[in-house]
């Protein structure tokens, strides 16, 4: 069934269809309508879950950690400073290998205070070990939430589903709402092998020593570095797992096939614009205009940022003349994080394209089609004149 709703409601329906059992959240713009919708679902009995209002985002994630440790499917959502307030618990959730799923409606970080969209909040959390999926429209939001629950419980790693605040969270779009019966078949109930069990008492995530040591039963227990190494291995392996899950989803629902990157008019392109999130759809209009002027250009949206799908990205970009990375986030004091990651991935390929970096849209600054046209025209006509520092779009200094 197709419905017209906001991105936040698309996410909430995805959570409902996934039968989340515990939801804990603290309101923050622009995420709030998502968890408000979920509280309505719980209140009306449409969703059989515990809705736990908390006094902070730190507590929201703590509740999800506890619920997930007890074997329940847990969900929360946040934005910007709320995400940063739960950072200590984000690290705990992934170190404890709990399949929590969280939506983040991307918003700029204060100070200075802003409620508008950019992606500094989630991009700044790329190194904590959570899987990060970015949606470009409402259909991808609802589909990604359902896939995220399956991915999280398959690889025992928490997953963030991110989408642009306002641009997606508050706009209305038609999308297909999957049937509950099909979602149930796709996403079996969460049945952890390891959870808090009074019949089998134990402590989880206890202090580790620098070296391995025998446990009570005389088996060697891993130390900190082994546990962290295994997380890294499992995250890299999660790339293949997500392909499998995406294939299963496509078989059931008829949508999918682009789990990592989404290319538009890239086949014969010499130039490729790259970005994360809804901007990649805005760039399609720009690419169409430039194609009319015989510029061989395409656009590629990156949909999974962690684990980094380097092979897919190198496969798409190696041999191109120039790659232009647009970012609504910045690793302050250096460059855009995606730009640096893409350059690093391309370093070992034989046909290295030029790579340019533009920073734009921070704190919700409007991104105009003409700005994008001008920037891309410059990159396409003089690709060799760019340095390694990012250029800024739409600045009014």
């Amino acid at each position: 069934m197709h419905i017209i709703e906001s991105g936040n409601v698309a996410a909430a329906i995805g959570v409902k269809l996934s039968r989340a059992q515990v939801i804990a959240a603290y309101p923050i713009t622009p995420q709030t309508p998502l968890t408000e919708k979920l509280s309505e679902f719980v209140e009306s009995g449409e969703l059989e879950a515990e809705y736990i209002p908390v006094e902070s985002e730190h507590s929201a994630m703590a509740v999800c950690i506890a619920a997930s440790s007890a074997g329940a499917r847990a969900f929360t959502a946040t934005s910007a400073n709320g995400l940063l307030y739960m950072v200590e618990q984000l690290n705990w959730a992934v170190g404890a290998r709990l399949p929590v799923v969280m939506c983040v409606a991307n918003r700029g970080i204060g100070a200075p205070w802003t409620v508008w969209n950019d992606q500094q909040d989630t991009i700044s959390q790329r190194d904590v070990g959570w899987i990060q999926i970015y949606a470009n429209d409402h259909q991808q939001i609802i589909d990604s939430v359902i896939k995220a629950f399956k991915l999280a419980q398959t690889v025992s790693v928490p997953v963030m589903v991110c989408y642009d605040g306002y641009l997606l969270s508050h706009t209305y779009m038609p999308f297909e709402q999957p049937e509950q019966k099909k979602v149930d078949a796709f996403l079996p109930a969460f049945a952890p092998k390891h959870f808090l069990d009074p019949e089998n008492p134990g402590n989880f995530n206890t202090v580790t020593l620098p070296d391995i040591r025998p446990d009570v039963d005389g088996n060697m227990a891993p130390g900190y570095i082994e546990i962290r190494h295994n997380l890294q291995e499992d995250l890299r392996a999660a790339l293949d797992t997500y392909v499998t899950i995406d294939n299963e989803f496509e078989k059931e629902f008829g949508r999918g096939g682009n789990p990592f990157i989404e290319e538009y008019r890239c086949d014969d392109a010499e130039f490729v614009a790259v970005c994360i999130g809804s901007l990649s759809y805005q760039l399609r209009d720009v690419v169409d205009i430039m194609r009319d002027d015989k510029v061989k250009i395409g656009v590629m949206g990156v949909q999974m940022y962690r684990p980094f799908p380097d092979q897919a990205i190198v496969g798409a970009l190696a041999g191109k003349k120039c790659v232009i990375v647009f970012e609504k986030a910045l690793s302050y004091g250096n460059q855009g994080a995606l730009y640096a990651d893409i350059k690093s991935a391309l370093y070992s390929s034989e046909k290295k394209p030029r790579v340019h970096n533009y920073i734009l849209g921070l704190g919700g600054r409007e991104i105009k089609t003409q700005h994008l046209l001008d920037a891309l025209a410059q990159s396409c006509t003089s690709p060799d004149t760019f340095g390694d520092s990012p250029r800024w779009i739409g600045l009014k200094l």
Binding site: G95, A96, R97, V155, S156, K193, H194, P201, G202, N203, F204, N205, T206, V207, T208, L209, R213, P214, D215, V216, D217, N219, A221, P222, Y224, E226, I227, N230, L231, E233, D234, A237, D240, T241
Partner: protein, 101 residues
């Protein structure tokens, strides 16, 4: 993908001595039980055992008389604090032990 066992994903411990490593090496003060005052020894009944109950490292045995596993006893002194008849005293490790049975 080979499913990794949970015991290799996270740290965990089960109730029992020694799950925090060789904690006996931390000990500065050693608990000594005066068996003449110890309730289960005096009454010859399975009673009291506060030392066994409160020990955070599970190193006190629930036996008559109670014994202490010094490989893991870190000398925290909780047993001495909790003993209702003051039968457990803490002595420095520098003191030669002669009376302990």
């Amino acid at each position: 993908m080979v499913k990794r066992k949970y015991c290799d994903m996270i740290s965990r411990s089960k109730p029992g001595p020694g799950d925090g490593g060789n904690t006996g090496s931390w000990r500065v003060m050693r608990p000594i039980i005066n068996l003449e005052a110890c309730i289960p020894v005096k009454t010859k009944k399975n009673s009291c055992f506060n030392c066994w109950l409160y020990c955070p490292d599970c190193v006190v045995s629930k036996t008559i008389p109670p014994t202490i596993n010094f490989e893991y006893c870190k000398g925290c002194g909780i047993c001495a604090e909790e003993c209702p008849v003051g039968a457990i005293s803490m002595v420095t490790e520098a003191t030669p032990v002669t009376e302990e049975k």
